[in-house]
């Protein structure tokens, strides 16, 4: 099994990192369970809220505005993802030019302008107003 390192191989060490990164805290947690004193009482395991008994649970049905925030983000993040492959092509000499400017650059500038118009629309519609 010989040959050049391919892209996938770079993730092998990362998997090792992931495993060790998870094992260390789990080990610590297990050790703590043994070493530290454990005196669990009813009140100790009750929810803290300024010393009083909380009024109702914290996990409730949340305001819909939070959801709008997330949706706007998903849209923009996907758009930005398109920019990443573009890094590798925009300087390529294969791509034709238009008036001395690389056509990929013009495309992307149009794309960004459209993106900004979308952002303006989102701001106008108060999708980004905090809850």
């Amino acid at each position: 099994m010989s040959g050049e390192m391919v892209a996938v191989d770079y993730y092998i060490p990362l998997i090792m990192f992931l495993i060790i990164g998870a094992i260390v805290p789990i080990g610590a947690l297990a050790a703590v369970k043994i070493i530290s004193p454990q005196k669990s009482t009813f009140q100790k395991r009750s929810t803290y809220e300024g010393g009083l008994i909380p009024i109702r649970e914290a996990i409730i049905q949340y305001n819909v505005q939070y959801y709008l925030f997330a949706i706007v983000f998903v849209i923009f993040d996907v758009e930005v993802l398109f920019l990443y492959p573009w890094i590798y092509v925009y300087a390529s000499e294969v791509i034709p030019t238009l008036g001395g400017v690389n056509i990929a650059v013009i495309d992307m500038l149009i794309f960004i302008v459209v993106l900004l118009i979308g952002l303006l629309y989102a701001i106008k519609k108060e999708a980004l107003r905090w809850v």
Binding site: I55, Y62, W130
Partner: protein, 571 residues
């Protein structure tokens, strides 16, 4: 200028027969006893025709010998004139009931609730007669009545019974003492009302709303109190305030101490403003005794009270900075360092850092030490320079301005309606300062400005405090220039303080606003009633309406800019 006599004459012509007895006190004070059924009309008349738009408080006195309760309503004006009207209403002791003034003055609410829970006087027409300071356990025993047998109580801790409730939380109940049971003051039937928690739960309307406890232990509270906010997302829809977590019964305790023993208790009323509390109490008793402190003593008092104001404003601003910044925000720590220097000055005279017990009836305890003038002038120079820097810092900090400007705006009319005083009122463009309005000590000879701001927002409140530091410095410098040698105690002060029967009301400008002491004497060596009217009480009452519709982060900014002190509210 309207004088107390004018008001009295007007009242007597407008309400013939409604005024039972009346007298005009020396310091622009009008004392009158009003027939119980006419009190609302009289107050309405005074408010509408004579500018009595400031409801300053109410005190309930138990006249057990006469079988009566007295409620004294204190009315004043926001700068239109300097008359203070103290209107008494008497009611039978067996079925006490008085008409409520909440329809006229919004801020009468808490004062009347307090009298209700402490003395059991019913207020007809009061919208929410719920307990304010006391726990449910003490409701119905009316602890401030003179025949209450639960005081003194040395065995609260021993009697406490621990029990686990249905949910599993531990609860405590402290049963009545044998004396109480014997005297039969234990209520057979407690008044019926929804508890604080039930009242809150009734307000939850939507699915996405929740009630967040901020307190009694929370980084925003300067002392234990409960601020509950009903939030939808992060927007506050309604705020609820529950105080009384450190209610000590100071007024009851002072009724059972001699006059002199009351002075250390007033220190603990508000530990940041110990000296002005001393001053207000001693001033009231001095009025009862008819004595006046010698000039040097008055200067010393003024110097120390202004120094105390400086340290209070520094601490207040510093604490406020930790709320909108964090506990590691450097200017907060710098302010505390500066405050230490000011405290050193005060300490060199009084010997204590915060609880001084320094002011005496008819004078002060100690004279100024040698070198005090130079030390103070040095400190003042430093304080001036530093405060200048802080102001510049805040002005140039865009985050600070973004957080503070337009947050928690109190319009002038709203501020007057809510009954706040001191820096929050002055920040709302109302130059209302006891040092000008009701001059005490030698403030009438002093040259200083009453700082006001137009905006009325959190930023303005802080700026007013910082600017007042300069004014205080200026006053101290004038005092240090003018002070001459002389006695520090009046000669006519009796060994045993036993004022003649009577009442006195004396108000001073606390660091936070109007601080008034209402003292009633019956000729013995203990007061019948001591009522402390604190400024923070009014701030707290005004807080829930201010917090509606703001973000959680602004709750902190607004509550912090008020510079609250829980101890004084709870007393």
């Amino acid at each position: 200028m309207t004088t107390a006599n004018d008001v009295l004459n007007a009242l007597q012509s407008a309400f013939p027969g409604a005024i039972e007895e009346a007298k005009v006190g020396p310091e622009r004070q009008l004392w009158a006893t009003i027939k119980p059924d006419r009190i609302v009309d009289v107050c309405k008349y005074l408010r509408d025709n004579h500018n009595f738009d400031h409801y300053s408080g109410a005190a309930g006195v138990d006249r057990i010998d006469e079988g009566l309760f007295e409620v004294t309503e204190m009315l004043a004006s926001h700068g239109a004139h300097q008359v203070v009207a103290l209107l008494k209403v008497k009611t039978k002791r067996d079925s006490p009931s008085v008409k409520s003034l909440t329809g006229l003055y919004w801020n009468a609410n808490w004062y009347e609730r307090e009298i209700w829970e402490m003395l059991g006087i019913n207020f007809e027409g009061h919208p929410e007669l719920y307990p304010l300071l006391l726990s449910d356990e003490l409701m119905g025993v009316w602890p401030w009545r003179k025949d209450y047998k639960g005081y003194p109580d040395y065995t609260t801790a021993e009697r406490a019974i621990e029990k686990v409730n249905a949910e599993g939380y531990t609860e405590y109940s402290i049963p009545p003492t044998p004396a109480e049971i014997e005297a039969g003051t234990v209520p057979v039937e407690r008044p019926k009302y929804p508890t604080f928690r039930e009242r809150e739960e009734m307000e939850i309307k939507g699915e996405s709303e929740m009630i967040l406890h901020m307190g009694p232990q929370h980084a925003v509270v300067p002392g234990p109190f409960l601020l509950d906010i009903l939030v939808d997302g992060e927007r506050v829809k309604k705020a609820f305030l529950d105080v009384g977590y450190i209610h000590k019964g100071i007024e009851k305790i002072m009724e059972n101490r001699t006059y002199v023993q009351g002075i250390p208790i007033t220190d603990r009323l508000c530990y940041i403003a110990a000296l002005t509390n001393n001053e207000a109490y001693c001033g009231a008793v001095e009025r009862l005794l008819g004595i006046e402190a010698p000039e040097r003593a008055q200067y010393i008092r003024m110097i120390l009270e202004e120094l105390s104001r400086i340290q209070s404003h520094l601490l207040g601003t510093a604490e406020f900075l930790t709320l909108i910044g964090s506990a590691v925000f450097s200017p907060f720590l710098y302010m505390i360092i500066d405050r230490e220097d000011v405290l050193t000055c005060i300490e060199s005279v009084t010997g204590a850092r915060i609880n001084h017990s320094f002011v005496r009836f008819g004078g002060v305890r100690n004279d100024l030490p040698d070198g005090f003038k130079d030390m103070t002038l040095d400190v003042l120079k430093m304080v001036r320079q530093k405060t200048e820097e802080y102001k510049e810092l805040f002005l140039s900090d865009s985050i600070y301005r973004k957080r503070m400007e337009g947050v928690g705006v109190l319009s002038p009319s709203e501020a007057r309606r809510l009954g706040v005083s001191g820096p929050p009122l002055r920040a709302s463009d109302t130059p209302y300062d006891m040092r000008r309005e009701d001059p005490y000590l030698l403030y009438k000879d002093m040259d200083f400005d009453v700082i006001t701001r137009k905006e009325g927002d959190s930023n303005a409140r802080v700026e007013v405090r910082l600017d007042e530091i300069f004014e205080s410095c200026y006053i101290i410098e004038q005092c240090l220039d003018q002070i001459s040698s002389g006695p520090i105690m009046a000669e006519s002060v009796p060994k045993r303080i036993k004022p003649d029967p009577g009442e006195a009301y004396y108000r001073v400008e606390d660091h936070r606003g109007e601080m008034g002491f209402f003292v009633v004497s019956d000729g013995s060596d203990k007061p019948v009633k001591v009522k402390a009217r604190g400024p923070v009480y009014a701030y707290f009452q005004a807080l829930p309406p201010l917090l509606e519709g703001v973000y959680i982060a602004d709750v902190v900014a607004i509550a912090g800019s008020m510079d609250a002190c829980t101890s004084e509210v709870d007393r």
